[in-house]
């Protein structure tokens, strides 16, 4: 998987971000940020709650095996099936097999990051199975043929005008620019499909080990239809989603919606424990849980990097990230974007393909301040930068040799202070060639990358001399 992942060119993408993207993203995330702030202000014990949430997640990832074993037994005893998928390919094959055994021709899907991670739709379509996203945002990006650009608002990068154009093109209608009207059109198109699909596929927000319960937190009601109307429900969920018990769930339900959308609770919170048990009961005939590893066990071996698995996918880190807000989610080149993407993708796809991502941050720390489970994102970014630049027990360095040589030279000059002081004396003279007034507007490479956006103040570097004169004369 690592070697074959295509290179993620963050910098190259950032050179030509469509101007509509930052505008759309900033508008939506701005609403979430203020909503979150208002909800947090109402809860005086918010910081305590974050600490408890963080502790539970830490405990869970450190004892993942035990909880997963528990979970499996509980799902089985509730009448469900459990499948272990070591890779994305395994997961796709498992889902296809279930579909084949049940002669499934069409699938309805509710929003799921795990199925985006494994590109399930592509596999279903290749097998001749129609797969339809029923979350409005996912439906839109499915029409657009892209992945999601935000964890909880997959189509955040699109304006209502762009969505109307998509609808008109794909549905052969004249769709208006009105969000309510667009939602109505989507709902009507989808309704038919809910009735005819033989299989529903979902993700899951939490898996309660205690009772084998899948918890889904949604806002549109489509999730409920996907998991109850078709005869078969397949949930594809990352193994990191396991939590110990219902008590811990109450903590995460308090943290999740507030952090994500600024709601106290999302509109729907669904608990699914196995299939229906008797005719006439709601729910599907069969319930399958596909537990997706796809590199997670490997990440667990790294005592610093593994904290990424504490994530509850609220998107708050992206909402406050000034880098994300200026480039949008596609820059991160994977199903997951923003700060969480920058620490997950390099671990999942490897630091060859995703080597730019840990650097695509100013280490401003805004993300860590809001993360409901206190993932130390800047610390993990630095940790992964180390993996890229100098290598560690998990990977060889993947940075270009020229940059590593430059760093060695800089290190030498800064450690040998005579050399630094010599440089400080000659640099202002050298740089004065480029000076116009007090500013340098066209510095030579690599500082040209600075001055293409704003001038550099001129090198003055005369404090040392001043100090010497001042202090010598007063002695």
């Amino acid at each position: 998987m690592n070697e074959t992942s295509p290179y993620i060119g963050f910098e190259e993408y950032s050179e030509h971000v469509p101007t509509s993207i930052p505008l759309a993203v900033q508008q939506a995330t701005g609403r979430f940020v203020s909503g979150r702030a208002a909800r947090v202000a109402e809860l005086p014990q918010w910081e305590e709650l974050r600490q408890i949430g963080s502790d539970i997640r830490q405990h869970t990832i450190e004892n993942m095996d035990g909880y997963l074993t528990h979970l499996e037994a509980a799902v089985l005893s509730a009448g469900g099936h459990v499948h272990w998928a070591e890779s994305g390919e395994d997961a796709r094959q498992i889902v296809l097999q279930i579909a084949k055994e049940n002669k499934v021709k069409s699938v309805v899907k509710s929003k799921s990051m795990a199925t985006e991670e494994i590109h399930l739709n592509r596999a279903l379509e290749a097998a001749g199975i129609e797969s339809l996203e029923t979350d409005l945002g996912e439906y839109i990006i499915q029409l657009a043929g892209t992945g999601p650009s935000h964890i909880i608002v997959p189509a955040v990068h699109l304006t209502k005008e762009e969505i109307a154009v998509l609808f008109s093109k794909h549905l052969g209608i004249d769709a208006p620019n009105d969000p309510i009207e667009l939602a109505r059109i989507a709902r009507e198109t989808l309704r038919e499909k809910f009735l005819s699909a033989e299989m529903g596929i979902s993700g899951g927000n939490f898996l309660i080990a205690e009772t084998g319960t899948l918890v889904m937190v949604t806002n549109e009601g489509n999730g409920r239809m996907c998991t109850t109307m078709p005869d078969i429900h397949v949930a594809v969920v990352g193994i990191d989603k396991v939590i110990p018990d219902w008590d811990s769930l109450t903590v995460f339900l308090k943290l999740l919606a507030r952090s994500a959308t600024g709601q106290k609770l999302s509109t729907y919170t669904q608990f699914i424990t196995g299939p229906r048990h008797a005719e006439g009961e709601g729910g599907p005939k069969e319930f399958h849980l596909v537990l997706l590893d796809n590199g997670r066990s490997k990440i667990l071996k790294d005592p610093v990097g593994r904290d990424v698995l504490k994530c509850i996918r609220c998107g708050a880190c992206a909402n406050v990230c000034p880098v994300y807000k200026n480039v949008g989610g596609f820059a991160y080149g994977s199903f997951i974007s923003g700060p969480i993407g920058a620490i997950l993708s390099p671990q999942m796809l490897g630091t060859q393909a995703a080597r730019e991502l840990p650097f695509a941050s100013t280490l401003c720390g805004a993300c860590a301040d809001v993360c409901p489970v206190k993932i130390p994102i800047p610390t993990i970014l630095r940790h992964l930068r180390r993996r890229v630049s100098q290598g560690d027990e998990f990977s060889k360095p993947t940075l270009s040799t020229s940059i590593r040589v430059t760093a060695s030279l800089a290190s030498f000059a800064l450690a040998q202070n005579w050399l630094y002081r010599f440089g400080t004396r000659v640099l202002p003279t050298f740089m004065s060639i480029f000076k116009r007034g007090n500013w340098i507007s066209n510095a030579p490479y690599p500082l040209s990358r600075w001055t293409k956006a704003r001038p550099l103040p001129s090198f003055t570097a005369s404090f040392r001399n001043w100090w010497k004169k001042e202090k010598d004369s007063t002695k």
Partner: protein, 241 residues
């Protein structure tokens, strides 16, 4: 007599001579006897934050040697460099070797300038006069890593004639980010432009901050935008009489 050692930081050294002179004057006027170890270079953060932990060690050692000749506190005009020293030096050297203990000792007596004034010297008024509309940009490491939330504003509050104007998204990064500014120039540019637009919109004629790197970025951005708004290090404002 109170003594302190000046750490001028590499960016201060290269670009902000007059700020450093002002820093010297303010501290000396408060009766602090200053020392300047000439062997100092850089705190090593540019290497450390770019993943070259092994190459940071020598730079940190140079710093530790330069500043351990005296046991006086160390004061620097940068929250970011001070954070590097306070929060990362000790982890560069394994426990049990003398450099580790030295790093902990040095960390415990290194202070950012406003922190040193307000929390160590307990000074909130340095007698500055600056009759202007001033806004404040809270730089990231100063604010979040150092946890300095009130110090700069407390000092601004006692400047005579100063009218404080608040800045929208005061705590949002300006896009400097060390090597980030040259690694991802276009992202840095957008972030800087957002910051500059907020500054222009707030109606202040001066913006201050406590970080040389961010100051270079924001001041350059304002200059490029053709604006008359002055960007300055808080030290320069506090030195105005």
């Amino acid at each position: 007599m109170t003594k302190a050692q000046l750490f001028i930081t590499c960016l201060g050294d290269q670009f902000y001579t007059s700020t450093l002179k002002s820093m010297t004057r303010i501290l000396e006027d408060l009766g602090v006897e200053l020392m300047f170890p000439p062997e100092q270079t850089c705190c090593g953060q540019p290497l450390f934050n770019n993943g070259f932990e092994d190459k940071t060690k020598g730079v940190a050692l140079n710093f530790l040697k330069a500043f351990s000749k005296s046991d006086a506190p160390i004061v620097a005009p940068s929250g970011s460099c001070v954070s590097m020293i306070k929060h990362h030096y000790a982890e560069l050297f394994p426990e049990g070797i003398s450099e580790h203990d030295l790093a902990i000792d040095i960390a415990s007596r290194t202070f950012e300038f406003t922190e040193y004034l307000v929390n160590v010297l307990k000074v909130t008024d340095v007698g500055a006069v600056y009759p202007h509309k001033v806004t404040y940009h809270a730089t990231c490491h100063y604010l979040r890593e150092m946890g300095l939330k009130t110090e700069a504003k407390t000092l601004l509050n006692s400047v005579k004639g100063l009218e404080f104007v608040s800045l929208k998204e005061e705590e949002t990064c300006c896009g400097f980010g060390g090597a980030f500014i040259v690694t991802f120039p276009e992202v840095s540019r957008s972030m800087m432009e957002n910051k500059v637009n907020d500054i222009l919109a707030c109606g202040a004629d001066t913006v201050v901050m406590c970080e040389p790197g961010c100051l270079m970025n924001v001041a350059g951005g304002l200059h490029k935008a053709g604006s008359k708004v002055r960007a300055m290090h808080i030290i320069d404002l506090l030195a105005s009489k």
